[in-house]
């Protein structure tokens, strides 16, 4: 298991030397594997330009019970072959990232476009959407940030469905279990629904007998 932890180091090293891979880094954070020029396969030209703002912080977790971190938006949609400028804003006093995975590896080493801020701040980065209908994962990979709400999806050309556990969009595959609310209203509703099923079944049985 430890063996593989070195791979990232090697990858980072090769990124530093590879000519196509771009890297901006400082005490503010880093932007890695940007692409503002090279056309994805199947794109004749840049079809359109878009710019978005992504805000990250604990503030955006409030809307989704059980999360701690979040983005101000969890689904981003772009047409194909579009140059997207991301304005990434970190409102917390800790590190956050906006990292898109699964992009073409000939444009982005490891298929990854990576923006990271070491604390409060703002940075811009650019990528070009491929000529596909695909939904890409965007997240913060600080330990447990994605799991606790910092997860989004980027739909290119309409995308190909939703990813799991996107706050406000899709449910968990490894589901959390919660005890039942024993309040009057909830219990009444449960009893009513249960009775409906029970009585309905008996009614049908009697009608059949006759």
């Amino acid at each position: 298991m430890i063996k593989r932890s070195g791979l990232l180091l090697i990858a980072l090293l090769s990124l530093a030397t590879a000519s196509q891979a771009s890297m901006r880094m400082g005490d503010w954070g880093m932007v890695m594997n940007e692409n503002s020029q090279q056309l994805p396969q199947g794109c004749d030209s840049i079809a359109s330009e878009q710019s978005i703002t992504v805000k990250a912080g604990r503030e955006y977790a409030k809307a989704f019970p059980g999360t701690i971190f979040g983005y101000d938006q969890h689904t981003f949609s772009f047409p194909r072959c579009t140059r997207v400028t991301v304005n990434f804003i970190n409102e917390d006093q800790i590190r956050h990232q906006f990292m898109i995975h699964g992009l073409p590896t000939y444009l982005h080493p490891q298929g990854m476009f990576h923006m990271e801020l070491y604390g409060e701040g703002e940075v811009q980065g650019t990528f070009i959407t491929p000529n596909t209908e695909e939904t890409y994962l965007a997240h913060c990979d600080v330990a447990q940030h994605m799991e606790k709400g910092m997860k989004a999806q980027v739909k290119v050309g309409g995308g190909n469905g939703d990813l799991p556990s996107i706050p406000g969009v899709s449910g968990q595959l490894n589901k959390d279990r919660y005890p039942l609310d024993l309040g009057v209203q909830n219990m009444l509703l449960i009893s009513l629904l249960f009775l409906l099923g029970f009585a309905g079944c008996l009614f049908l049985y009697r009608r059949n007998k006759k």
Partner: protein, 570 residues
């Protein structure tokens, strides 16, 4: 017809069942009926005990899973002399250089060989003009290990303390950059995220700004246990400071006036947060000229750039952090992804007074993984400094085979040299630190000579991994003559590779399987039908079962007819 009816009447069925039952017992073991049975009929025939199960076909696991053997040699990076390391998996020398120089003072290619954030360790201003920086800013984050994912069963980021053993944990880690896992497919934690919380080193008199950046989903603080600090920076929610919430920061400013081996830990819900792993060594090194100290020692163990003060007396230095894990606390973080549920289960339902420790760690691993990182390798006639922290909730009774070391300091305060005690079991209370001088002079007291010597907690539960030994915090003191090219000790004892199989710690392998060519102690295969008596016994049991079924049918029919008759009468 009538004869048949009588044969299957209730009384006859009952009697046949009892008789057949007796026959079955006699066939199984007559001495159960009458103890001296064999005195009358002669000795029972020889019946072979079941054979042993075949020895399991174990995957051959490399004892040393080396990744960067070249990192073992001595380096000079950015003017910093980094000692050689004998560990199977040594610390990354470029990372050590970045910790010593400061991430702000190393060139980009060095920083790129690490996964540290640019502002992780910022060193500036030689105020006293003694050749080393005196304004030190250290940033630590809080990382979870083996946590839950809403997307699948795999734990994230993954961290094994021993083969196949992945308890939940929290650690203080140097501020890093990039992904917490190796990549999107391999969810193993990157090497900076590991147990124990990284030992921190500063120099006496430095202006240290320690910044806690709470990247975790619960509130935390840092309490600088034993380190000279003002009340303002005590890190205690009940007295001096507010909780540092997720996404927030807390700044601790200290200028320690006293050098020694100290401690730092979170002081929020200590019975939970301390035991989850938010505890580490905090070492204040003596103020010396040109004293560039190694700010973090990730994974503890060998300090590859010891301070000037240490090098005056010692050839080398090791940080030894002992801790324990109660899975009924630590694995709670794997039960839900909702921090509200976790907070309740950890703080209000889990009861540490009912807790029992299951795993025992030295520098974040249990045996045999301790062999890959935590061997203490020595030469004869050498002084080695050991800084020992007991982060477990019970007393540590550390025993060094073949050596009696001298306790030179308790809790960061030197022991009067005339009163120093030399012994082979060192008792360390919870949260206590001792400094040991391990002197390898072959004089029958300090050392009994060269070899491979075990080192472990002598509270016997601590040499196990959830009750299975050898496990727990066992490690070795190895004379370098005994080291082989795989960075392991060549021993005269048994092959250790069996212990690298997860099955061993699941209790699925016979304890001495690998060391027992005769198979004397292998697992026993199941008993097979091997005599005419056993054949007969099974047939008799079959008949008996049929009789009992018939009996029930008859009884039920009787009861049924009884009620039918009563109904008809009415």
């Amino acid at each position: 017809m009538t004869f048949k009816m009588r044969l299957f009447s209730v009384p006859s069925l009952l009697i046949s069942s009892i008789v057949l039952g007796l026959v079955a017992v006699l066939l199984y073991d007559p001495s159960l009926v009458y103890a001296r049975f064999f005195d009358y009929i002669g000795m029972p025939a020889y019946q072979e005990a079941p054979i042993s199960k075949p020895k399991p076909d174990l995957e051959k696991i490399t004892v040393c899973d080396e990744q960067y053997p070249e990192w073992r040699k001595a380096y000079t990076i950015g003017g910093i002399d980094i000692q050689a390391s004998d560990a199977c998996n040594p610390d990354n020398p470029y990372e050590v250089a970045a910790f010593v120089r400061g991430t702000n003072n190393v060139i980009m290619p060095v920083l790129m060989r690490t996964q540290l954030a640019d502002d992780a360790v910022v060193k500036t201003n030689d105020i006293d003009g003694d050749g080393d920086p005196d304004d030190i800013v250290i940033r630590v984050e809080v990382a979870e290990l083996n946590g839950r994912s809403p997307d699948g069963k795999e734990l994230i980021p993954g961290y094994e303390i021993a083969p196949g053993i992945t308890p939940g944990a929290w650690v203080f880690a140097p501020k890093s950059r990039g992904m917490a896992t190796v990549n999107r497919l391999d969810l193993t934690a990157n090497h900076l995220l590991r147990l124990p919380s990284a030992p921190i080193r500063v120099e006496e008199g430095d202006n240290v700004t320690l910044i806690l950046e709470n990247t975790h989903y619960f509130p935390h603080t840092i309490h600088l246990h034993g380190v000279d600090h003002s009340y303002e920076y005590d890190g205690v929610p009940q007295t001096n400071e507010k909780l540092t919430m997720p996404g927030g920061q807390q700044v601790y400013k200290i200028k320690p006036r006293h050098a020694g081996t100290m401690h730092y830990h979170c002081h929020v819900q200590v019975q939970v947060h301390y035991m989850m792993g938010l505890q580490g060594l905090f070492i204040v090194e003596e103020n010396k000229p040109n004293n560039w100290v190694q700010t973090f020692n990730v994974g503890a163990g060998k300090v590859r750039k010891p301070s000037q003060g240490v090098l005056e007396t010692y050839a080398q230095e090791y940080d030894l952090h002992y801790q324990a894990i109660d899975t009924s606390l630590n694995n709670l973080i794997q039960t839900s992804n909702d921090p509200r549920q976790l907070a309740k289960r950890m703080n209000r339902i889990y009861d540490i007074t009912d807790g029992t420790d299951d795993y025992f760690l030295l520098n974040g691993r249990s045996f045999p993984y301790t062999l890959r990182e935590s061997l203490i390798t020595v030469e004869p006639n050498q002084h080695t400094k050991l800084r020992v922290l007991n982060g477990s909730p019970e007393i540590l009774a550390l025993h060094t085979h073949g050596h009696k070391a001298t306790i030179t300091a308790y809790d960061g305060v030197d022991v009067n040299p005339l009163a120093q005690i030399t012994r082979d079991v060192y008792s360390v209370s919870p949260a206590q630190r001792i400094d040991l001088d391990l002197y390898t002079k072959d004089n029958g007291v300090n050392s009994y000579g060269e070899g491979v010597w075990l080192m472990h907690d002598h509270s016997e539960r601590a040499i196990t991994t959830d009750g299975i030994a050898p496990g727990g915090n066992i490690s070795q003191i190895v004379y370098r003559n005994y080291l082989n090219k795989n960075a392991m000790a060549t021993t005269q004892g048994e092959d250790l590779s069996a212990y690298f199989n997860p099955e061993y710690y699941q209790g699925k392998l016979a304890t001495w399987s690998a060391a027992d060519p005769f198979g004397f102690f292998d697992d026993v295969a199941g008993a097979k039908i091997s005599s005419y008596k056993e054949v007969l016994l099974i047939i008799v049991l079959g008949v008996l079962f049929a009789l009992i079924v018939l009996l029930f049918v008859r009884l039920f029919a009787g009861v049924y007819t009884f009620f039918m008759k009563r109904d008809n009468k009415q």
